[in-house]
């Protein structure tokens, strides 16, 4: 059950309200309270909502990855999300069978045991042949795919391989978007079209290939990784981009504050995101390895 702080302790700040143009997603950022026991989540946790988590750049097998995984389990205990979308770099280094165990199965075993499903996209550190056939990544042998989660909410995810965005994949993506009648069309992949990373930053090639489709088919939110921190951008042409690239890796101090892109960020600790879709609203909490909810808010999808 979602732990709620008392009304008196709940400090809600309207940090930004962006409506730069017609059809833009409306973003409301909320300052989260902190509590002594459990995570101080601020998500609505409604009965029929769709709850999911976002994780990227995690498969290191490091102590930090395991510690963040423990926070993910803690979050799940309070807020029972049903699936985790993986934005790539799922295993670093070798991908022997024992690596799948050490870098994925062991840290997330409590979530797997609880029935949480993981849906992977491929990053530049991932071996497509090994991972797309790995049952627990639910890729069904495909490098790119789409799926509709089991929920009453109108949601479809589109999973791309951004390191090899060949014309056939882009054509497939457009056909999938065109054929989808879901209200929430959510693409996720590894390389961020918008990012304030000093190491990588925005990928203009990916942006020019995909952004026109996002705009044409009314995408409101995109999840990516690659840069090893958490960032939520200000809406870019009405779309909010999340970089969730610190699921195990971390590049401290790597957010370039001069880009003007950042609505919120954390380059000081590993982090993951949990989110909830209810009707036209997507609420989110970003949670650090230390168990702090450091970014919260909601995105309203334009109708």
């Amino acid at each position: 059950m979602l732990k709620r702080a008392s009304t008196a302790s709940l400090v809600i700040g309207l940090l930004c309200l962006v409506e730069g143009w017609t059809g833009a997603a409306r973003v409301v950022a909320v300052q989260a309270p902190q509590s002594a026991g459990g995570l101080a989540l601020t998500l609505p946790n409604k009965a029929d909502s769709f709850k999911f988590a976002v994780l990227g750049d995690f498969g290191t097998g490091s102590k930090e990855q395991y510690q963040l995984a423990a926070q993910m389990k803690q979050a799940h205990d309070q807020y029972p999300y049903t699936l985790v979308i993986l934005v790539g770099d799922n295993l670093y280094g070798s991908e022997r069978p024992q690596d799948f165990k050490k870098k994925f199965e062991d840290p997330y075993q409590p979530l797997l045991d609880a029935g949480v499903k993981f849906y992977a996209s491929l990053g530049n550190h991932d071996d497509p042949q090994e991972q797309r056939n790995y049952k627990l990544f639910n890729m069904d042998g495909k490098r790119y795919y789409s799926f509709k989660p089991d929920t009453k909410q109108s949601v479809r995810f589109f999973v791309l391989e951004s390191s090899y965005l060949e014309p056939q994949q882009v054509a497939w993506f457009e056909q999938e978007l065109k054929g989808s009648n879901s209200d929430w069309k959510i693409p996720y992949f590894h390389h961020p079209p918008y990012s304030s990373g000093e190491r990588h930053g925005s990928d203009p090639q990916i942006r020019s290939a995909l952004e026109p489709l996002f705009l044409k088919y009314n995408v409101s939110v995109v999840f990516t990784g690659h840069d090893h921190f958490y960032e939520r951008t200000k809406p870019q042409k009405g779309i909010v981009y999340f970089v969730c690239g610190s699921g195990g890796q971390l590049r401290k101090g790597n957010i370039d504050k001069s880009t003007g892109l950042t609505a919120a960020g954390n380059d000081q600790d590993q982090a993951f995101l949990i989110a909830e879709i209810n009707g036209n609203e997507l609420s989110f909490n970003a949670i650090s390895r230390q168990g702090k909810v450091f970014d919260s808010g909601s995105i309203t999808r334009p109708k």
Partner: protein, 210 residues
């Protein structure tokens, strides 16, 4: 049936090269994309229109010969399914690599990317990377791409080295490959990677324009 496998790809690349000669900046149409899908034999093959087209058509023939060998050898192994364990997938990958390496023991750099193909590939890469976005494109390719000393045909792609990003613009310009093959960069070399076997099938050294 397999003899026809390369036909639509051949049609597509001939069309692409012809169009490219007319207008370098034009993107492939949806129809071109459809034409490159194996099994689509709607159009009759056109004769190669110039030396570059001929070189790329011959390159695709060699790629398809490789793919045919790959498929024959892969079909001799237990199939990987969505229920396979990581052990089974890994064993399959390494067993396929061994079969291909044995079958292509004498393979050397330049067998698939022959010298005339290398020249055309360098030209296509040069066209993409010499544009106004060239520096940014090269930066994205070289990101986390330190290269490999003594890159060899038939060798396993190094586990510790991430794969390079291939810009969408370059993938539009290069001939479309069968499902089991990909282009990647290792340092300055453009490699033809067998993704099922995780090995280097061939490569073009020093691909980027100086």
């Amino acid at each position: 049936m397999r003899a026809l496998r390369g036909l639509p790809i051949l049609i597509a690349i001939l069309s692409a090269v012809s169009l490219s000669a007319c207008n370098r900046s034009s993107a492939p149409s949806v129809d071109q994309t459809k034409a490159s899908v194996p099994g689509n034999t709607a159009a009759a093959p056109a004769a190669p229109v110039n030396d570059d087209a001929r070189a790329l058509a011959a390159f695709l023939e060699r790629v398809n010969q490789y793919a045919t060998l790959h498929q024959k050898l892969e079909n001799s192994l237990p199939k990987v399914s969505k229920d396979s364990t990581p052990q089974q997938v890994d064993a399959h990958q390494r067993a396929l690599a061994k079969l291909i390496q044995d079958a292509r023991q004498s393979a050397k750099q330049g067998d698939i990317f022959t010298p005339d193909t290398q020249a055309v590939i360098r030209k296509l890469v040069g066209n993409v990377f010499s544009g106004p976005d060239g520096a940014a494109l090269k930066a994205s390719v070289m990101d986390e791409n330190p290269g490999v000393p003594n890159l060899k045909v038939n060798s396993r792609y190094p586990d510790e080295i991430p794969v390079s990003t291939i810009p969408p613009q370059l993938l539009q310009a290069l001939p479309k490959l069968p499902e089991e093959m990909e282009y990647r960069f290792v340092g300055n070399a453009l490699i033809l990677m067998d993704t099922h076997a995780h090995i280097v099938a061939d490569f073009v050294p020093d691909t980027f324009p100086k």
